[in-house]
């Protein structure tokens, strides 16, 4: 333990201090220093990699058609898909970031957990079954169902690629730093390993391998987190009150950790953040894509039910783990030492949470060490790595599908590309995305990229979600309305985010932000909907009238599944 302490500088410890706007990707902040090689973690991670590569080999032999590649043949069950969605969605940022946020400021962590969850019921009630009935491989299939293919597919592909790219950069940089911290591996190697593995999973095993990587990761993460929360609560005789009481007594913020703090300062920020979290989830291309892997609307609904259960349960666990970190890391151990802090507090004083070794994102990892010793610490480190792999594999597949299925097959080849060509383009794109993200990961190593996950959510909520929702619900929508609404949502969200405090002030170093809010969702989401409405109702062209007439057929299919894609034969 001593050697671990000396390997970290105080600067590395301070780097984990959270700023509110960046909680989205808390795991990716700040500079970190390499840790001593963590043998247990490396061995367990190797086992994970070998197992998942074995699955990829198995999946590759079963992946023949485009439907196999994009949608795992449509043969995933609702329960499996629920786990895979959970595995796709529970990123390292939400595991380490929320536990770290709870450790630093208590209750505020719960606000994010809640926001990240409540999009799921909305997806179920309004989107999942219509999406499944209308679509084939990507959400653009649905958004462009009765419209002109070229403009809508181009828009949807740009929205998808923007979301995927920003999300991916945050994940790659986070992966590099985390692995450096957990495994004692160089940043460069960490990023290359993540890039190479994700290329391998996706190009060879397609959606089937990606799905199983996500399922395994979800099971590992849920079991590991359950054990930790159980072990923490067991120390207090399973009395949350006893745990909270101890936490309040050792945390410098005392009872303030039991109430909302400075994280949300004004109502507009609160609502804006809430909207981006809730509707952004319903516009993430890698999540929407998962609904095409099940056989019908019935299984699609079941997947959301299971996913909501797993994700909600997981967020409750991270909250307990965060409090576990407070009571275990900020209180002296049996020998009176503070093994997880860089500097022990002066006699009689309370420990400072910011002195945690490796920064606040390490709170969950140190808690694993405190409750389960070296072996469990290694296990949780390996799970954190596996978590990143599962998320980047899903993102890469979604990005590759946007290029091959939407841009190549529909826009460039105008629907005349053969299935084989389409898959080939998809695999080439996967390799390109993998290589590009390795380079981006290296380029952004020393940048604060935490805002990028926020950006991904705002774009998803302001560009993808409105066109998808309106195309399914509103018969009077036209191509022009969708194009204007989608592009306005995309451009306004990127612009306002850049002009906001996080990027304009903190990242670019300007004295004051031009746009006052960190999260532009409350402005850009309504803007997109209003633009769709306005430019549709004022559109009286012949094509617009044809598009309105063809809503009836789409409506019947979306409601009943008449003519919907089924599962493939095998």
């Amino acid at each position: 333990m001593r050697s671990l302490v000396t390997r970290f500088s105080a600067a590395a410890a301070a780097a984990g201090a959270l700023v509110p706007a960046s909680v989205y990707a808390a795991a990716v902040e700040g500079a970190v220093q390499k840790q001593a090689t963590n043998i247990e973690a490396i061995v367990m991670f190797m086992i994970f990699v070998l197992a998942t590569l074995g699955i990829t080999f198995w999946a590759a032999r079963r992946t023949k058609s485009a439907k196999d590649f994009y949608a795992a043949g449509g043969g995933i069950t609702g329960f499996q898909n629920g786990l895979a969605i959970a595995g796709d969605y529970m990123s390292a940022a939400s595991f380490l970031g929320i536990a770290g946020l709870v450790y630093m400021s208590g209750f505020d962590g719960l606000i994010f957990s809640v926001g990240w969850l409540v999009g799921w019921p909305i997806i179920l009630f309004l989107i999942a079954e219509r999406l499944r009935n209308l679509g084939k491989y990507t959400f653009a299939d649905v958004a462009s169902y009765r419209f002109q293919q070229t403009p809508i597919r181009t828009l949807a592909a740009c929205g998808s690629l923007a979301t995927v790219t920003f999300y991916l950069i945050a994940q790659m940089v986070g992966a590099g730093k985390l692995i450096q911290l957990l495994f004692g591996m160089d940043y460069l190697w960490a990023v290359v390993i993540v890039g190479v593995l994700m290329i391998a999973y996706v190009t060879f095993g397609g959606m089937l391998a990606t799905t199983w990587v996500q399922i395994i990761k979800a099971v590992l993460l849920l079991s590991g987190a359950s054990f930790m929360a159980f072990a923490v609560l067991a120390k207090f005789g399973f009395s949350p009150e006893a745990m909270f009481s101890k936490a309040v007594s050792v945390h410098p913020k005392a009872t303030a950790i039991m109430a909302p703090g400075a994280l949300i300062s004004d109502p507009i920020s609160a609502i804006s953040l809430g909207m981006a979290l809730m509707f952004g989830t319903a516009g993430l291309p890698h999540i929407l894509m998962r609904f095409f892997t099940v056989s019908d609307a019935k299984e699609a609904r079941k997947s959301v039910f299971y996913a909501t259960g797993f994700i909600g349960y997981f967020y409750i666990l991270t909250f307990i783990i965060g409090f576990g970190a407070i009571v275990l890391l900020l209180a002296p151990d049996a020998t009176g030492a503070y093994p997880f802090l860089t500097t022990a507090p002066a006699a009689g004083a309370l420990a400072n949470p910011a002195t945690i070794i490796g920064g606040s994102n390490m709170a969950a990892i140190h808690t694993a060490h405190a409750v389960g010793g070296n072996l469990f610490y290694g296990f949780i480190s390996a799970v954190a790595f596996a978590t990143i792999l599962a998320v980047v594999a899903g993102l890469t597949l979604a990005g590759a599908s946007a290029v091959s299925h939407d841009l190549y097959a529909s826009v460039i080849a105008k629907g005349r590309a053969s299935e084989r060509d389409e898959i080939r383009v998809s695999k080439i794109t996967t390799v390109i995305i993998g290589i590009v993200s390795i380079f981006l990961g290296i380029a952004f190593e020393n940048q604060n990229v935490a805002f990028m996950v926020g950006l991904a959510f705002v774009i998803a909520a302001s560009a993808n979600f409105p066109i998808l929702l309106m195309s399914m619900f509103w018969g009077k929508m036209t191509t022009r309305g969708a194009v204007m609404g989608g592009w306005l949502g995309l451009i306004s969200s990127v612009t306002l985010l850049v002009l906001g405090p996080t990027v304009w002030k903190s990242v670019l170093g300007n004295p004051a932000a031009i746009f006052p809010y960190d999260n532009p969702g409350a402005f850009t989401i309504p803007l997109s909907f209003i633009a769709i409405w306005f430019f549709s109702i004022t559109d009286n062209s012949q094509t617009a009238q044809d598009e309105r007439r063809s809503f009836e057929a789409q409506y019947i299919r979306s409601q009943t599944g008449l003519g919907a894609e089924g599962a493939s034969a095998h």
Binding site: F107, L110, W120, A259, P267, A270, Y315, A553, Q559
Partner: protein
């Protein structure tokens, strides 16, 4: 396919399915929005209430309110899936059967 579609549209059961399912889905959506934005507005305007201890302990009202929001999301999805995969799918099956 086109004839099937016309038959479906003319089937009163189709209207019934669509009406019932939409009303149900929107009701639950509104319930979720009210619960969630209620929580967010409490965070924005009712910090005092969320920070008030329950009884004489340190556990505040914020904890059960937050947990309730998480659990309600799960329960609402359960309620929808229960009815959609049972009653609505049965109705849908009949509609598809009668359209052939």
């Amino acid at each position: 396919m086109k004839e099937n579609a016309q038959r479906i549209l003319a089937n009163p059961k189709f209207q019934e399915l669509v009406q019932k399912r939409s009303a149900f889905a929107w009701t639950l959506s509104v319930a979720m929005l009210v619960i969630y934005f209620g929580f967010i507005l409490l965070v924005a305007f009712g910090k005092g209430f969320l920070g008030t201890p329950i009884g004489s302990g340190v556990t505040t009202w914020g904890i059960p309110v937050g947990l309730f929001t998480i659990i309600s999301a799960f329960i609402l999805t359960g309620i929808y899936v229960q009815r959609a995969n049972g009653e609505f799918d049965e109705l849908n099956r009949q509609i598809m059967e009668e359209s052939k």
